[in-house]
Protein backbone atom coordinates (compact mmCIF):
# COMPACT_ATOMS: atom_id res chain seq x y z
CA UNK A 1 0.00 0.00 0.00
CA UNK A 2 1.17 3.50 -0.82
CA UNK A 3 2.18 5.36 2.33
CA UNK A 4 1.15 8.73 0.90
CA UNK A 5 -2.46 8.10 0.02
CA UNK A 6 -3.21 4.55 1.06
CA UNK A 7 -3.91 3.40 -2.50
CA UNK A 8 -3.51 -0.31 -3.07
CA UNK A 9 -0.69 -1.83 -5.13
CA UNK A 10 -3.11 -2.91 -7.84
CA UNK A 11 -4.31 0.62 -8.54
CA UNK A 12 -0.83 2.02 -8.18
CA UNK A 13 0.56 -0.48 -10.64
CA UNK A 14 -2.10 0.14 -13.26
CA UNK A 15 -1.68 3.87 -13.19
CA UNK A 16 2.07 3.67 -13.00
CA UNK A 17 2.16 1.34 -15.97
CA UNK A 18 0.01 3.56 -18.14
CA UNK A 19 1.99 6.64 -17.31
CA UNK A 20 5.29 4.72 -17.52
CA UNK A 21 5.89 6.27 -14.16
CA UNK A 22 7.26 3.16 -12.56
CA UNK A 23 7.35 -0.55 -13.11
CA UNK A 24 7.29 -1.08 -9.41
CA UNK A 25 4.19 -1.95 -7.45
CA UNK A 26 6.08 -1.77 -4.21
CA UNK A 27 4.78 1.63 -3.21
CA UNK A 28 7.86 3.33 -4.61
CA UNK A 29 5.90 4.60 -7.61
CA UNK A 30 6.18 8.17 -8.79
CA UNK A 31 3.12 9.31 -6.99
CA UNK A 32 0.17 9.34 -9.29
CA UNK A 33 -2.17 11.68 -7.58
CA UNK A 34 -0.24 13.83 -5.23
CA UNK A 35 2.82 14.32 -7.38
CA UNK A 36 1.71 17.56 -8.92
CA UNK A 37 0.28 20.89 -8.00
CA UNK A 38 -3.13 22.10 -9.16
CA UNK A 39 -2.86 25.67 -10.44
CA UNK A 40 -5.67 28.14 -10.00
CA UNK A 41 -6.22 28.05 -13.76
CA UNK A 42 -6.74 24.30 -13.73
CA UNK A 43 -3.19 23.64 -14.89
CA UNK A 44 -1.18 20.74 -13.55
CA UNK A 45 2.34 21.35 -12.35
CA UNK A 46 4.30 18.14 -11.97
CA UNK A 47 7.53 19.79 -10.93
CA UNK A 48 6.39 21.14 -7.62
CA UNK A 49 5.22 17.83 -6.16
CA UNK A 50 7.06 16.05 -3.40
CA UNK A 51 9.06 14.04 -5.92
CA UNK A 52 10.24 17.29 -7.45
CA UNK A 53 10.66 15.87 -10.92
CA UNK A 54 8.78 15.27 -14.10
CA UNK A 55 7.86 11.74 -15.16
CA UNK A 56 7.66 10.69 -18.81
CA UNK A 57 4.16 10.15 -20.02
CA UNK A 58 2.46 11.82 -17.10
CA UNK A 59 2.47 15.22 -18.76
CA UNK A 60 -0.02 13.96 -21.33
CA UNK A 61 -2.63 14.01 -18.62
CA UNK A 62 -4.92 16.93 -18.28
CA UNK A 63 -7.39 18.07 -15.71
CA UNK A 64 -11.08 18.32 -16.46
CA UNK A 65 -13.10 20.41 -14.03
CA UNK A 66 -16.47 18.74 -13.65
CA UNK A 67 -18.11 20.07 -10.48
CA UNK A 68 -21.17 17.94 -11.16
CA UNK A 69 -23.61 16.42 -8.75
CA UNK A 70 -23.20 12.64 -8.82
CA UNK A 71 -26.94 12.15 -8.57
CA UNK A 72 -27.65 14.85 -11.15
CA UNK A 73 -29.13 12.36 -13.60
CA UNK A 74 -31.52 10.97 -10.99
CA UNK A 75 -32.31 14.50 -9.82
CA UNK A 76 -33.05 15.57 -13.40
CA UNK A 77 -35.42 12.65 -13.91
CA UNK A 78 -37.02 13.30 -10.52
CA UNK A 79 -37.61 16.93 -11.48
CA UNK A 80 -39.29 15.72 -14.69
CA UNK A 81 -41.56 13.45 -12.63
CA UNK A 82 -42.31 16.32 -10.27
CA UNK A 83 -43.33 18.64 -13.10
CA UNK A 84 -45.60 16.00 -14.62
CA UNK A 85 -47.25 15.35 -11.27
CA UNK A 86 -47.57 19.03 -10.37
CA UNK A 87 -49.13 19.89 -13.73
CA UNK A 88 -51.85 17.30 -13.00
CA UNK A 89 -52.15 18.43 -9.37
CA UNK A 90 -51.31 14.92 -8.23
CA UNK A 91 -49.98 14.69 -4.68
CA UNK A 92 -47.12 12.17 -4.67
CA UNK A 93 -46.00 10.75 -1.32
CA UNK A 94 -42.87 8.63 -0.93
CA UNK A 95 -43.44 6.17 1.93
CA UNK A 96 -40.22 5.03 3.55
CA UNK A 97 -39.56 2.73 6.50
CA UNK A 98 -37.85 -0.43 7.68
CA UNK A 99 -39.33 -3.74 6.53
CA UNK A 100 -42.22 -4.72 8.77
CA UNK A 101 -43.26 -1.27 9.99
CA UNK A 102 -46.75 -1.84 8.63
CA UNK A 103 -46.52 0.33 5.49
CA UNK A 104 -48.77 -1.78 3.30
CA UNK A 105 -51.42 -2.35 5.98
CA UNK A 106 -51.47 1.38 6.67
CA UNK A 107 -51.75 2.11 2.96
CA UNK A 108 -54.61 -0.35 2.48
CA UNK A 109 -56.48 1.21 5.41
CA UNK A 110 -55.77 4.74 4.10
CA UNK A 111 -57.09 3.90 0.63
CA UNK A 112 -60.14 2.20 2.11
CA UNK A 113 -61.01 5.32 4.12
CA UNK A 114 -60.37 7.61 1.12
CA UNK A 115 -62.78 5.44 -0.92
CA UNK A 116 -60.01 4.75 -3.46
CA UNK A 117 -60.99 7.88 -5.40
CA UNK A 118 -58.18 9.14 -7.64
CA UNK A 119 -55.62 7.05 -5.81
CA UNK A 120 -52.82 5.14 -7.51
CA UNK A 121 -49.97 3.21 -5.96
CA UNK A 122 -46.43 2.27 -6.94
CA UNK A 123 -45.12 -0.62 -4.87
CA UNK A 124 -41.38 -1.18 -4.57
CA UNK A 125 -39.99 -4.49 -3.35
CA UNK A 126 -37.00 -6.60 -4.25
CA UNK A 127 -39.26 -9.51 -5.19
CA UNK A 128 -42.91 -10.69 -5.36
CA UNK A 129 -46.05 -8.76 -6.26
CA UNK A 130 -47.75 -9.53 -2.92
CA UNK A 131 -48.05 -5.89 -1.91
CA UNK A 132 -49.48 -4.71 -5.24
CA UNK A 133 -52.02 -7.55 -5.03
CA UNK A 134 -53.11 -6.32 -1.58
CA UNK A 135 -53.50 -2.76 -2.90
CA UNK A 136 -55.44 -3.84 -5.99
CA UNK A 137 -57.90 -5.65 -3.72
CA UNK A 138 -58.96 -2.18 -2.48
CA UNK A 139 -59.86 -1.15 -6.03
CA UNK A 140 -56.96 1.28 -6.49
CA UNK A 141 -54.65 0.74 -9.48
CA UNK A 142 -51.18 -0.43 -8.45
CA UNK A 143 -47.93 -1.17 -10.22
CA UNK A 144 -45.32 -3.38 -8.64
CA UNK A 145 -41.68 -2.53 -9.27
CA UNK A 146 -39.31 -5.36 -8.43
CA UNK A 147 -35.88 -3.89 -7.93
CA UNK A 148 -34.18 -7.30 -7.92
CA UNK A 149 -30.95 -6.71 -6.06
CA UNK A 150 -31.62 -2.97 -5.75
CA UNK A 151 -32.21 -1.49 -2.33
CA UNK A 152 -34.24 1.55 -3.35
CA UNK A 153 -36.50 2.99 -6.04
CA UNK A 154 -35.00 5.63 -8.32
CA UNK A 155 -36.55 8.38 -10.41
CA UNK A 156 -36.27 6.45 -13.69
CA UNK A 157 -38.23 3.49 -12.28
CA UNK A 158 -40.94 5.79 -10.94
CA UNK A 159 -41.14 7.77 -14.19
CA UNK A 160 -41.63 4.52 -16.07
CA UNK A 161 -44.33 3.40 -13.65
CA UNK A 162 -46.12 6.76 -14.03
CA UNK A 163 -46.20 6.15 -17.80
CA UNK A 164 -48.17 3.00 -17.19
CA UNK A 165 -50.46 4.18 -14.40
CA UNK A 166 -53.64 6.00 -15.16
CA UNK A 167 -53.29 9.02 -12.90
CA UNK A 168 -56.32 11.20 -12.30
CA UNK A 169 -56.03 14.95 -12.00
CA UNK A 170 -55.96 16.10 -8.38
CA UNK A 171 -55.38 12.50 -7.36
CA UNK A 172 -52.91 10.99 -4.90
CA UNK A 173 -49.96 8.80 -5.86
CA UNK A 174 -48.54 6.72 -3.03
CA UNK A 175 -45.06 5.37 -3.70
CA UNK A 176 -44.20 2.61 -1.26
CA UNK A 177 -40.42 2.46 -1.33
CA UNK A 178 -38.33 -0.64 -0.65
CA UNK A 179 -38.26 -1.37 3.10
CA UNK A 180 -34.94 0.22 3.97
CA UNK A 181 -34.13 3.22 6.16
CA UNK A 182 -30.81 3.98 4.50
CA UNK A 183 -30.64 4.07 0.72
CA UNK A 184 -34.03 5.55 -0.30
CA UNK A 185 -33.07 8.77 1.54
CA UNK A 186 -30.58 9.67 -1.20
CA UNK A 187 -32.86 9.22 -4.21
CA UNK A 188 -35.39 11.90 -5.07
CA UNK A 189 -38.31 10.35 -6.94
CA UNK A 190 -40.14 13.60 -7.72
CA UNK A 191 -42.46 13.28 -4.73
CA UNK A 192 -44.08 16.16 -2.86
CA UNK A 193 -43.06 14.74 0.52
CA UNK A 194 -41.36 11.78 2.13
CA UNK A 195 -43.41 10.06 4.82
CA UNK A 196 -41.35 8.02 7.29
CA UNK A 197 -43.16 5.23 9.11
CA UNK A 198 -41.81 3.87 12.36
CA UNK A 199 -43.66 1.31 14.46
CA UNK A 200 -43.58 1.02 18.24
CA UNK A 201 -42.22 -2.52 17.90
CA UNK A 202 -38.95 -0.96 16.71
CA UNK A 203 -36.56 1.16 18.79
CA UNK A 204 -37.31 4.74 19.84
CA UNK A 205 -33.74 5.70 18.91
CA UNK A 206 -34.21 4.82 15.23
CA UNK A 207 -34.35 8.49 14.17
CA UNK A 208 -30.88 8.87 15.72
CA UNK A 209 -29.58 5.64 14.19
CA UNK A 210 -30.86 6.43 10.70
CA UNK A 211 -30.79 10.23 10.70
CA UNK A 212 -30.69 10.80 6.95
CA UNK A 213 -34.13 9.37 6.39
CA UNK A 214 -35.74 11.29 9.22
CA UNK A 215 -33.96 14.47 8.12
CA UNK A 216 -35.45 14.05 4.64
CA UNK A 217 -39.00 13.24 5.79
CA UNK A 218 -41.75 15.85 6.22
CA UNK A 219 -43.85 13.71 8.50
CA UNK A 220 -43.28 10.67 10.71
CA UNK A 221 -46.12 8.23 11.30
CA UNK A 222 -45.59 6.48 14.60
CA UNK A 223 -47.44 3.29 13.75
CA UNK A 224 -48.94 0.36 15.69
CA UNK A 225 -49.68 2.54 18.75
CA UNK A 226 -52.31 -0.06 19.72
CA UNK A 227 -49.34 -2.25 20.71
CA UNK A 228 -47.68 0.44 22.83
CA UNK A 229 -48.99 -0.94 26.19
CA UNK A 230 -47.29 -4.28 25.46
CA UNK A 231 -43.89 -3.07 24.35
CA UNK A 232 -41.17 -1.08 26.02
CA UNK A 233 -41.33 1.93 23.71
CA UNK A 234 -41.20 5.56 24.85
CA UNK A 235 -43.23 7.51 22.27
CA UNK A 236 -42.30 10.92 23.70
CA UNK A 237 -38.60 10.05 23.55
CA UNK A 238 -39.04 8.85 19.98
CA UNK A 239 -40.69 12.13 18.96
CA UNK A 240 -37.94 14.11 20.70
CA UNK A 241 -35.32 12.07 18.83
CA UNK A 242 -37.02 12.73 15.49
CA UNK A 243 -37.23 16.48 16.22
CA UNK A 244 -33.59 16.54 17.24
CA UNK A 245 -32.68 15.33 13.74
CA UNK A 246 -35.37 17.35 11.97
CA UNK A 247 -36.94 20.25 13.95
CA UNK A 248 -39.63 20.67 11.27
CA UNK A 249 -40.88 17.08 11.17
CA UNK A 250 -44.55 16.52 11.94
CA UNK A 251 -45.43 13.47 14.00
CA UNK A 252 -48.72 11.58 13.89
CA UNK A 253 -49.36 8.67 16.27
CA UNK A 254 -51.39 6.15 14.41
CA UNK A 255 -52.69 2.60 14.28
CA UNK A 256 -53.95 1.15 11.04
CA UNK A 257 -55.51 -1.63 13.09
CA UNK A 258 -57.47 0.32 15.73
CA UNK A 259 -57.95 3.42 13.58
CA UNK A 260 -56.30 5.74 16.12
CA UNK A 261 -54.78 8.76 14.40
CA UNK A 262 -56.17 7.86 10.98
CA UNK A 263 -58.27 11.06 10.92
CA UNK A 264 -55.18 13.21 11.58
CA UNK A 265 -53.27 11.39 8.83
CA UNK A 266 -56.10 11.78 6.31
CA UNK A 267 -56.33 15.44 7.27
CA UNK A 268 -52.60 15.86 6.65
CA UNK A 269 -53.00 14.29 3.20
CA UNK A 270 -55.94 16.61 2.43
CA UNK A 271 -53.91 19.68 3.43
CA UNK A 272 -51.06 18.67 1.12
CA UNK A 273 -53.52 17.85 -1.62
CA UNK A 274 -54.99 21.35 -1.38
CA UNK A 275 -51.52 22.91 -1.43
CA UNK A 276 -50.56 20.92 -4.54
CA UNK A 277 -53.83 21.86 -6.27
CA UNK A 278 -53.29 25.51 -5.40
CA UNK A 279 -49.79 25.41 -6.89
CA UNK A 280 -51.04 23.71 -10.06
CA UNK A 281 -53.71 26.39 -10.50
CA UNK A 282 -51.15 29.18 -10.00
CA UNK A 283 -48.83 27.55 -12.54
CA UNK A 284 -51.66 27.17 -15.05
CA UNK A 285 -52.67 30.82 -14.56
CA UNK A 286 -49.09 31.98 -15.11
CA UNK A 287 -48.87 29.87 -18.24
CA UNK A 288 -52.16 31.26 -19.53
CA UNK A 289 -51.02 34.84 -18.92
CA UNK A 290 -47.76 34.08 -20.67
CA UNK A 291 -49.64 32.69 -23.68
CA UNK A 292 -51.95 35.70 -23.84
CA UNK A 293 -49.02 38.12 -23.76
CA UNK A 294 -47.03 36.06 -26.26
CA UNK A 295 -49.91 35.96 -28.73
CA UNK A 296 -50.54 39.68 -28.38
CA UNK A 297 -54.11 39.12 -27.33
CA UNK A 298 -53.77 41.10 -24.11
Amino acid sequence: MCATCGCGPEVAFKVGESGKASASASGDHAHHHHGHHHGADGSLDYSSGSAGHHVDGVSQKRLVEVEADILSKNNRLAEGNRQRLEAMAVLALNLVSSPGSGKTTLLVETIRRMSANGIAVIEGDQQTSNDADRIRATGAPAIQINTGKGCHLDAAMVGHAIDHLHLEERGVLFIENVGNLVCPAAFDLGEDSKVAILSVTEGEDKPLKYPHMFAAASVMLLNKVDLAPYVDFDMDACEANARRINPNIEVIRISAKSGDGMAAWLDWIEQRRKAVAHKAIEMAKARLEHLIVASGAA
Binding site: V11, V15, S18, L63, V64, V66, E67, C151, H152, H212
Partner: protein, 113 residues
Protein backbone atom coordinates in the same frame (compact mmCIF):
# COMPACT_ATOMS: atom_id res chain seq x y z
CA UNK B 1 -25.57 -0.57 -0.26
CA UNK B 2 -26.68 2.25 -2.57
CA UNK B 3 -22.99 3.02 -3.09
CA UNK B 4 -23.08 0.75 -6.14
CA UNK B 5 -25.86 2.87 -7.70
CA UNK B 6 -23.84 5.96 -6.89
CA UNK B 7 -20.77 4.40 -8.57
CA UNK B 8 -22.87 3.67 -11.63
CA UNK B 9 -23.96 7.31 -11.67
CA UNK B 10 -20.32 8.40 -11.45
CA UNK B 11 -19.39 6.12 -14.36
CA UNK B 12 -22.33 7.48 -16.43
CA UNK B 13 -21.15 10.98 -15.67
CA UNK B 14 -17.58 10.15 -16.70
CA UNK B 15 -18.75 8.56 -19.96
CA UNK B 16 -20.77 11.72 -20.75
CA UNK B 17 -17.72 13.84 -19.95
CA UNK B 18 -15.52 11.68 -22.21
CA UNK B 19 -17.71 12.67 -25.17
CA UNK B 20 -17.90 16.36 -24.17
CA UNK B 21 -14.28 16.96 -23.14
CA UNK B 22 -12.85 14.47 -25.67
CA UNK B 23 -10.67 12.11 -23.70
CA UNK B 24 -10.08 8.38 -23.90
CA UNK B 25 -9.41 7.41 -20.35
CA UNK B 26 -9.78 8.67 -16.82
CA UNK B 27 -6.71 8.26 -14.64
CA UNK B 28 -8.01 9.81 -11.48
CA UNK B 29 -11.34 11.01 -10.15
CA UNK B 30 -11.75 13.42 -7.25
CA UNK B 31 -15.04 13.38 -5.40
CA UNK B 32 -16.29 15.81 -2.81
CA UNK B 33 -18.46 14.08 -0.25
CA UNK B 34 -20.11 15.81 2.66
CA UNK B 35 -20.00 13.92 5.92
CA UNK B 36 -23.82 13.88 6.05
CA UNK B 37 -24.20 12.52 2.51
CA UNK B 38 -24.93 9.05 3.89
CA UNK B 39 -22.20 7.45 1.81
CA UNK B 40 -19.64 5.01 3.11
CA UNK B 41 -16.25 5.79 1.46
CA UNK B 42 -14.98 2.20 1.79
CA UNK B 43 -18.04 0.82 0.01
CA UNK B 44 -17.71 3.52 -2.62
CA UNK B 45 -14.06 2.62 -3.27
CA UNK B 46 -14.94 -1.03 -3.63
CA UNK B 47 -17.97 -0.34 -5.83
CA UNK B 48 -16.02 2.04 -8.03
CA UNK B 49 -13.34 -0.50 -8.96
CA UNK B 50 -16.03 -2.99 -9.93
CA UNK B 51 -18.23 -0.50 -11.80
CA UNK B 52 -15.29 1.01 -13.70
CA UNK B 53 -14.22 -2.24 -15.36
CA UNK B 54 -14.42 -2.02 -19.13
CA UNK B 55 -15.34 1.70 -19.06
CA UNK B 56 -13.39 4.93 -19.62
CA UNK B 57 -12.55 4.82 -15.93
CA UNK B 58 -11.10 1.30 -15.88
CA UNK B 59 -8.25 1.33 -13.37
CA UNK B 60 -8.74 4.95 -12.40
CA UNK B 61 -7.77 6.03 -8.91
CA UNK B 62 -10.55 7.40 -6.74
CA UNK B 63 -9.80 10.17 -4.30
CA UNK B 64 -12.37 11.37 -1.81
CA UNK B 65 -12.31 14.86 -0.34
CA UNK B 66 -14.35 14.96 2.86
CA UNK B 67 -16.38 18.09 3.36
CA UNK B 68 -17.44 19.09 6.87
CA UNK B 69 -21.08 19.50 7.83
CA UNK B 70 -22.30 22.96 8.74
CA UNK B 71 -25.15 23.96 10.96
CA UNK B 72 -26.70 27.21 12.14
CA UNK B 73 -26.86 27.48 15.93
CA UNK B 74 -29.86 29.55 17.00
CA UNK B 75 -28.32 30.20 20.42
CA UNK B 76 -24.85 31.25 19.23
CA UNK B 77 -26.38 33.00 16.21
CA UNK B 78 -23.63 31.69 13.92
CA UNK B 79 -22.58 28.81 11.67
CA UNK B 80 -20.69 25.97 13.33
CA UNK B 81 -19.03 22.75 12.13
CA UNK B 82 -20.70 19.50 13.17
CA UNK B 83 -19.87 15.86 12.49
CA UNK B 84 -23.23 14.13 12.72
CA UNK B 85 -26.88 14.97 12.45
CA UNK B 86 -28.42 15.53 15.84
CA UNK B 87 -25.10 16.67 17.30
CA UNK B 88 -24.97 19.40 19.94
CA UNK B 89 -23.39 22.77 19.19
CA UNK B 90 -19.60 22.47 19.66
CA UNK B 91 -19.53 25.99 21.17
CA UNK B 92 -22.50 26.21 23.53
CA UNK B 93 -23.50 22.52 23.77
CA UNK B 94 -27.05 23.55 22.87
CA UNK B 95 -29.27 21.41 20.71
CA UNK B 96 -31.00 24.10 18.63
CA UNK B 97 -29.18 23.55 15.35
CA UNK B 98 -30.32 23.61 11.76
CA UNK B 99 -28.11 21.66 9.35
CA UNK B 100 -27.13 23.89 6.43
CA UNK B 101 -24.55 21.80 4.54
CA UNK B 102 -22.75 18.50 4.44
CA UNK B 103 -24.83 16.40 2.06
CA UNK B 104 -22.69 17.21 -0.99
CA UNK B 105 -22.05 14.38 -3.43
CA UNK B 106 -20.04 15.79 -6.32
CA UNK B 107 -17.47 14.85 -8.91
CA UNK B 108 -14.98 17.69 -8.53
CA UNK B 109 -12.50 17.04 -11.29
CA UNK B 110 -10.81 14.36 -13.37
CA UNK B 111 -7.33 13.68 -14.58
CA UNK B 112 -7.61 12.28 -18.09
CA UNK B 113 -5.47 11.14 -21.01
Amino acid sequence: MHELSICQSIIDLLSEQAAIAKFDRVVRVRLEIGCLAGVEPQALMFGFDVSARGTVADGAALEIIDLPAKAWCFDCDRTVDIETRGADCPLCSGGRLRVTGGDELRVKDLEVV
